[in-house]
């Protein structure tokens, strides 16, 4: 079709170029292009170390040497009977499980409080989210002071309130150290869980709770028979996240107790660091670090499946 004579040649050229397909029109290539940075990032910072760890776990590699001897399952066979390793597995499991149970209870309670209307709700919400935003190292320093053997504010408070009569050495006693580590884990995870739970709660239609009220259900019946079942998918997501974060965490144990007293609070991550970096046995360190991998893969798959189905309400 001929262009009308009024159109100038420049405008005609523009019209032609306008009609040409650009990159923005080609969604197949656009998608690849835009995903590329993220893929590169994951490949370089997660993929490479992961493959390296896998390779190291089956090698006799040591720090300070370039030898890379294939030793098969030797590293795994060495650590499994090791009582310190067994202790670390047990610690990882119980720190994770106990802290997640506490996180759920606290998060649901906090979400209930925060969903109620009261003056200063915004400030409380903000304060509650702070632990999530605080850098772990900074937080750990604060916690080492809170649990300090000489200056512990908890001890001071307990003594003044008459809860305890003796001075508690938080990092000197395995039981107390366990409590301290779980406390910090809970403190770290619960804001995130609260926010997720809160989001879940606000997606439950108000009429459902009102129907339950009119139907004669009291607070606990509404909690356990109406709200918690409806929140279950979203709480599952929070818990699975928490399990992955807590069970793979190095920083809390490392900064608070360094695995002490007498290696009683090591978790797999801190033991791997100790064996692999301080001890120089890279192969064994990698084997320790990878030990929970199969479990976490299952957890991650569950997490992704639940997250996809996580929708509250009808």
């Amino acid at each position: 079709m001929a262009l009308p004579s009024r159109v100038s040649p420049g405008a005609a050229a523009l019209a032609v170029s306008f009609r040409r397909r650009t990159l923005a029109d080609r969604e197949d290539w656009l998608a690849r292009l835009m995903l590329a940075p993220a893929l590169l990032y994951v490949a370089a910072l997660v993929g490479v170390p992961f493959v390296l760890a896998l390779a190291l776990a089956f090698s006799g590699a040591r720090a300070g040497s370039l030898d890379f001897a294939w030793v098969g399952w030797h590293n795994f066979l060495t650590i499994i009977p090791d009582p310190q390793f067994q202790r670390a597995v047990w610690n990882t499991l119980r720190f994770t499980l106990v802290s997640q149970v506490l996180v759920i209870v606290l998060a649901v309670s906090a979400a209930y409080v925060l969903s109620a209307a009261f003056a200063g709700r915004r400030i409380v919400r903000f304060l509650l989210l702070l632990p999530w935003a605080a850098p772990v190292a900074l937080a750990a320093i604060a916690w080492t002071w809170i649990f300090d053997s000489t200056f512990s504010v908890i001890n001071w408070t307990f003594l003044v309130m008459g809860v305890t009569r003796r001075w508690l050495y938080w990092f000197g006693d395995p039981a107390l150290a366990t409590i301290a580590i779980i406390t910090v884990h809970v403190w770290r995870m619960f804001p995130f869980a609260t926010v997720i739970t809160l989001a879940g709660m606000s997606s439950i239609p108000q009429e459902i709770n009102e129907a339950a009220v009119v139907d004669g259900a009291g607070f606990w019946r509404r909690l356990f028979q109406v709200n918690l079942p409806l929140l279950l998918p979203i709480i599952t997501v929070a818990v699975l996240f928490g399990v992955v974060f807590t069970s793979t965490d190095l920083s809390v144990v490392y900064l608070l107790t360094r695995g002490g007293p007498y290696n009683s609070t090591h978790v797999l991550a801190s033991l791997a660091f100790q064996r692999g970096i301080f001890g120089g046995d890279l192969g064994q360190g990698a084997a320790v670090a990878l030990f929970l991998l199969p479990v976490l893969v299952v957890v991650a798959v569950l997490m992704l499946r639940t997250a996809r189905r996580a929708e509250v309400g009808t």
Binding site: E207, I208, A211, A212, A217, R221, V226, G313
Partner: protein
């Protein structure tokens, strides 16, 4: 203090949200076994009023009595002997139909065996016995509504509160559901308060209708009384589709008449006492059973359109653009005060 006369008695009830008076001094008396419809446009306070009766909302001031007992803020919803059906049905999405219906009974701590019997009884009544194992998302709109009704009926409440329970159904189903609902209410004889903005629903269902606007009850009466003798111009225009014609006259009066009482002069029998208007016909809509004539009266003070709703039996030829003589039987004329909008002497039922 005066003994409450009605089964549900509402005295000078207020609910203010800041400056907004959602419910502004409502007085209502609902007889035992009666189905009273609260009708009004959205935001008129009808739902707030119902929620206060249910105990979901606390009155700013005023009193509510159910069965002669005063229900104040200390009486929780569960102790009020009410059952409510919500607009969205508010079924518990994670529970089966059976568990939904059983929920209020379990909250009463009824024994499991008795619960089973009553749930099955209620389900049978509504014809959903075969659906008890399904969850709400596996049910159609009509089936969900029946589950919601079963859940309300199952514990023999003193009062039913219905908050637009039919508005989520399609038009065909709604007519059937309306019929069934009225039959159910008559059979059970349970005092019922029914909130709706749909006048057809209100007229069809209500033993009496309370028309609300701006937080106040404008008029209470049987559907016929409210329709034929509206207490004010709001009720006159809110009820009826098309609404009542209102025409300002000399001598400080607003004349009102229903479009179906507005005829071409040809069909008026000689000797009938009628008021006549010359109407310039603007538009005609053929609606099958009826014909709507829109026109402007000659010599009217303001730009007012009158509507005549002619049944198909009236075959008088009328064309758009022509001026035609129309008539209203004088007995169908209503008079309203032009400032207050209230009905004048002959408007009272």
């Amino acid at each position: 203090m005066m003994e409450p006369a009605g089964f549900v008695e509402i005295r000078n009830l207020h609910r203010h949200f800041g400056d907004v008076r959602a419910v502004d001094g409502v007085e209502l008396s609902i007889k035992e076994g009666e189905l009273l419809v609260l009708l009004g446009p959205s935001g008129c306070g009808k739902t707030t009023l119902m929620r206060m009766i249910a105990g979901l909302e606390t009155p700013t001031s005023g009193q509510i009595f159910i069965g002669g007992e005063e229900i104040d803020a200390d009486v929780p919803p569960r102790a009020r002997g009410i059952a409510m059906v919500f607009q969205s049905y508010a079924l518990y999405p994670h529970k089966t139909a059976f568990e939904n219906i059983a929920f209020p009974l379990e909250a009463m701590r009824m024994a499991a065996l008795a619960v089973r019997g009553r749930v099955q009884g209620a389900a049978k009544r509504f014809g959903i016995g075969h659906l008890l194992g399904r969850r709400p998302r596996q049910l159609s709109g009509g089936e969900r509504q029946r589950v919601a009704l079963s859940r309300a009926v199952v514990r023999d409440p003193k009062v039913f509160l219905f908050d637009e329970p039919l508005s989520n159904l399609d038009a065909q189903l709604r007519a059937i559901a309306r019929y069934e609902l009225k039959e159910l209410q008559r059979e059970l004889g349970t005092t019922t308060i029914y909130v709706t903005h749909d006048q057809v629903e209100a007229m069809g269902l209500g033993d009496r209708i309370a028309v609300m606007n701006k937080g106040r009850v404008q008029q209470v009466g049987t559907p016929q009384a409210v329709y034929d003798y509206p207490a004010n111009t709001f009720v006159a225009t809110f009820l009826g589709s098309p609404p009542m014609n209102l025409l300002k006259q000399d001598g400080d009066v607003i004349l009102g008449f229903r479009p179906e009482n507005f005829f071409p002069h040809e069909v008026v029998r000689p000797g009938d006492d009628v008021a006549t208007f010359r109407l310039r016909v603007r538009q005609i809509e053929y609606l099958g059973a009826t014909r709507l004539i829109y026109g402007v009266p000659e010599g009217a003070h303001d730009d007012v359109t009158l509507i005549a709703d002619l049944s198909s039996q009236i075959t008088t030829p009328i064309a758009e653009g022509e001026t035609h003589l129309f008539a209203v039987p004088r007995q169908a004329l209503r008079r309203f005060d032009p400032t207050a909008g209230t009905a004048l002497s002959d408007g009272a039922a």
